[in-house]
Amino acid sequence: MTFLERTTDARRFRQWEGNVEADYIYTSGVAGERFFVALRDDGKMLASRCTACGLDYLPPRLFCEDCFLELTEFVDVPPEGRVAAVTMAHLDRRGTPLSRPQVWALVTFEGIRGGLVHRLLVPPAKARVGLAVRAKLKARGDRVGAITDIEGFEPVRS
């Protein structure tokens, strides 16, 4: 009776192997194109501004989710942000222990709606909410226009 037995090895039964393979190409969209090109070429982050409610969206969006207007105005995100929350990852996605914990943070910017999740480039003991940080970018020639053009966030004063 299957319900009453327990096995961790499906191969004990008659079985077939399968693989749901799937590959994708994602477009960054109209607003995303502006964001990633500015990041790659000018090394800066853009937000899109809703002139109706005054919100500046990071990452920039084509539309204000509240007012439902198309956003065409872009503003620079302040270079300095703050850590809003942190976590130290001890296991990888498969549950294998990492050789050293990874530090991840949610970084927000004054006056900007939203924020970015990224690596926090400090030792775990130094990771804390409120830390003033800025983006550490790859060198101009290594940037391709992707979120990984940002290596992580580092303290403004170390």
Binding site: V20, D23, I25, T27, G29, V30, G32, L62, D66, E70
Partner: protein, 381 residues
């Protein structure tokens, strides 16, 4: 049950690949629908999203992902999914939100971004099969349709050229559609018959290719429509949906019994006793040309085996006695699965409110029926 009307509709271009993200496409369609109804997002009580498998866009739980583009921010929001049937079924979900009295004004927004999936969206269809009975044989979805088409042709003695006429009609009808991907004013029956064989009897031009796109409609209660003095509205007088055996091998392939049952439910609700006489035009689901014929018979608008004859005689042309797919359908406008709501429910709204432009049926029409098919079998009108 309260009376429900469609008061606005919008849709994006349908293209093989669009730069816009799924959210951005949803925003464009939703904004158009709101503008056409003369409403803003603040007027909307609830939002329904319809979108097909996550595997197409390549985003898991894409209903949540698309929420902001659908106008769902801080609103009661639901995603429904019934395969290709989503093209009509999400409208039915919107209908029950309003008919039940839960909401006065509802947005229904459908989306598909199939170009994300590489090398072809067909590749993820490989995973809809039974993993033990079917997948070891490495089947292709087109095989099922080919066998269904073959069975339909065999039972009624239908000629391939009479089926090809549907592709020709719809691709020509789509010439007046501003969103169309596949309009072709010069296409002939021979073009269809000479196109590449994919899985006999299905040839390249018998099938609508995948696409990117979004569509949206606004539904409202009779009371809301009166209060806001909204002039352009099309009433949803009946809805129905039905599913057959989960095993396609157990179905009667030559006749879609599930469509007939869904249609009977909708006709009963709408107090229609003689659909062929009381319905002025139809938007049946046409991902393949033969499917339009199959579905017309399921909708009881043609006797079994009669739909190819009606097509040959020109009855289903835009200026015929029973115009079918005046939008250009999936065959002519394109097939971003769920977003085909634009050619089905959207077209009914545009035709019934005299806003179909070059596609407007030349004679007066009062009642239309739209239908979509997927794993589930919904129908609307």
């Amino acid at each position: 049950m309260r009376k429900v009307g469609v008061i606005g509709a919008g849709m994006t271009l349908f293209r093989r690949r669009l730069q816009e993200t799924g959210k951005e496409m949803c925003f464009e369609a939703t904004k158009m629908a709101l503008d056409s109804a003369g409403l803003t997002r603040a007027d909307i009580d609830m939002v329904v999203n319809g979108t097909a498998p996550d595997a197409f866009d390549g985003v898991h739980m894409k209903g949540e992902y698309l929420l902001d583009g659908c106008g769902g921010y801080r609103k009661p929001y639901t995603r429904v999914f019934t395969g290709g049937g989503t093209g009509v079924f999400s409208s039915i979900a919107g209908w029950w939100h309003v008919a039940s009295g839960l909401a006065d004004a509802v947005l229904v927004v459908n989306e598909e971004k199939m170009s994300s999936c590489q090398p072809h969206p067909q590749s993820v269809f490989a995973h809809i099969w039974d993993p033990i009975l079917d997948r070891p044989l490495r089947p292709n979805l087109v095989w099922i349709f080919a066998m269904e088409m073959n069975r339909y042709m065999h039972v009624h003695g239908v000629k391939k050229e009479d089926i090809a006429r549907v592709a020709v009609k719809n691709k020509r009808n789509a010439v007046g559609h501003p969103c169309a991907q596949l309009a072709d004013p010069k296409i002939t029956v021979d073009d269809v018959l000479n196109s590449e064989v994919m899985a006999w009897p299905v040839q390249r031009l018998d099938i609508s290719p995948p696409s990117d796109g979004a569509s949206a409609i606004v539904l409202a209660s009779e009371d809301f429509i009166r209060r806001r003095k909204i002039k352009d509205r099309a009433w949803m007088s009946g809805v129905g949906w039905c599913i057959d055996s989960t095993m396609w091998t157990d179905r009667d392939l030559y006749f879609p019994e599930y469509v007939a049952r869904a249609a009977q439910t909708a006709y009963k609700r709408a107090k229609i006793s003689d659909p062929r006489r009381e319905i002025d035009f139809a938007e049946p689901y046409d991902p393949f040309d033969y499917k339009e014929l199959h579905h017309l018979e399921g909708l009881l608008l043609a006797k079994k085996g009669e739909a190819p004859i009606l097509t040959r005689e020109g009855v289903t042309e835009r200026d015929g006695d029973l115009p079918v797919c005046p939008s250009g359908g999936l065959m002519g406008v394109g097939n971003p699965i769920a977003a085909t709501m634009g050619q089905k429910i959207g077209e009914l709204f545009w035709q019934l409110t005299n806003q179909a432009g070059k596609r407007q049926i030349p004679h007066e029409v009062h009642t239309g029926v739209a239908q979509a098919w997927g794993d589930l079998m919904p129908l609307w009108w």
